[in-house]
Symmetry: C2
Subunit: 249 residues, 2 copies
Amino acid sequence: VENLTFKNPTASILIIGNEILSGYTKDANLYFLSNQLFEMGIDLLEVRIVRDDVQKIAENVIVLSKKHTYLFTTGGIGATHDDVTVEAIAKAFGVELELNKSVVSLLRDYYKESFNENRKRLAFIPREAHLIENSISHVPSFYIENVYVFAGMPNIMQAMFLGIKDSLKKGQPFFVKEIKTHFLEGDIAHILTFVQNKYESIELGSYPFYEPDNRGVNLILKSRDQEAVQKAFDELSSLLQQDASNNQG
Amino acid sequence: VENLTFKNPTASILIIGNEILSGYTKDANLYFLSNQLFEMGIDLLEVRIVRDDVQKIAENVIVLSKKHTYLFTTGGIGATHDDVTVEAIAKAFGVELELNKSVVSLLRDYYKESFNENRKRLAFIPREAHLIENSISHVPSFYIENVYVFAGMPNIMQAMFLGIKDSLKKGQPFFVKEIKTHFLEGDIAHILTFVQNKYESIELGSYPFYEPDNRGVNLILKSRDQEAVQKAFDELSSLLQQDASNNQG
């Protein structure tokens, strides 16, 4: 497709935490991050969820950070024994954890006489990492190369992401058109195939809903080529209308 | 740990769908499945989310089905061009898709004169797969070896899972105790480390919450060894109480 040869950034997310896999906690970070990345024109291609296990986290950090422009991790960066993300990131990059003096002084200022050995652990970050501000609970996180390490608590994760958002490389924006219908997929699949094949630069998604009194399908036309989205939308709308008239007649 | 040498089944989930990665749809299947598996004593160790891409799906099916007792997939099994999960599963197992006569007759009975070429596509399933009933929208799914293929729509996915649930191998049950506190993690991390180190057969998780007027941490003690959970719970409760008294005194 002309004008679209520019390579857009890609991303992956690694969600870390036994509590997500055991069903104790409902993840709320994927939905936020996927929407943010979509709006920025960054292609989120892959998400993984793993346990609080140094080896597993490190393995996945290595694989995902090599495959994508950005890897975002959530979870496992607190002050307790089950927070092992920081150690795993250091292991993945083969770097040491180092007591970061500016984090120490930041935590000392904030916690005052409550700054103790437990909290000192929060100041150990991988050598060569850069800090990410935490405007909520004041314990900063960090990024190293293309790996951004966020807290698991949604309010803190969101503040951290919004803090670094402007420093990320944006992609060309997506253009989206939506058609909500009460057709059933099986009645219109051939029309969708026709439109998808004709407009190769768009991605046509078909998302059915099936409730007792409300059945149908939401059709999403998505592309970085705005004109193609509009043309495909017009043609699809017209074909669906013809089909509806034919079935009534 | 004695009596716990029995190998418990493990599981992974592969969530399939561009709509989840683009943020258009909020996944609701992980939370349901993770809770079901936890109640059954099955260890959910890994989740991945990938695009509707035959090659990517097949690669992940191969990796995850080899590593775990069960792999559950959700999404990508409808009647439209963007539903490629069935093709990918067949590719992963190196088997052909085959027109399944009992699915054809089931769909013909249900759809009657609306049974068309689009819907006939739904009757192609991998050779040697076994059907999974769909009490909601009547299009069955299937499992092949240890891979269970579910719809993406939560109501249908849940009906499918509940339909095959009793045929899955259960693990030894988990026992869980929870302590909700208003301590901050940094004030009690050393106590948690002590308890975790003393009771190796339990998993002690520390899940902070941090809102302007409500800060604290939920502590979860989890194990297949009920007695160990109770002992660890008693000791942790007592240590936290002592700590609170000390700080007041």
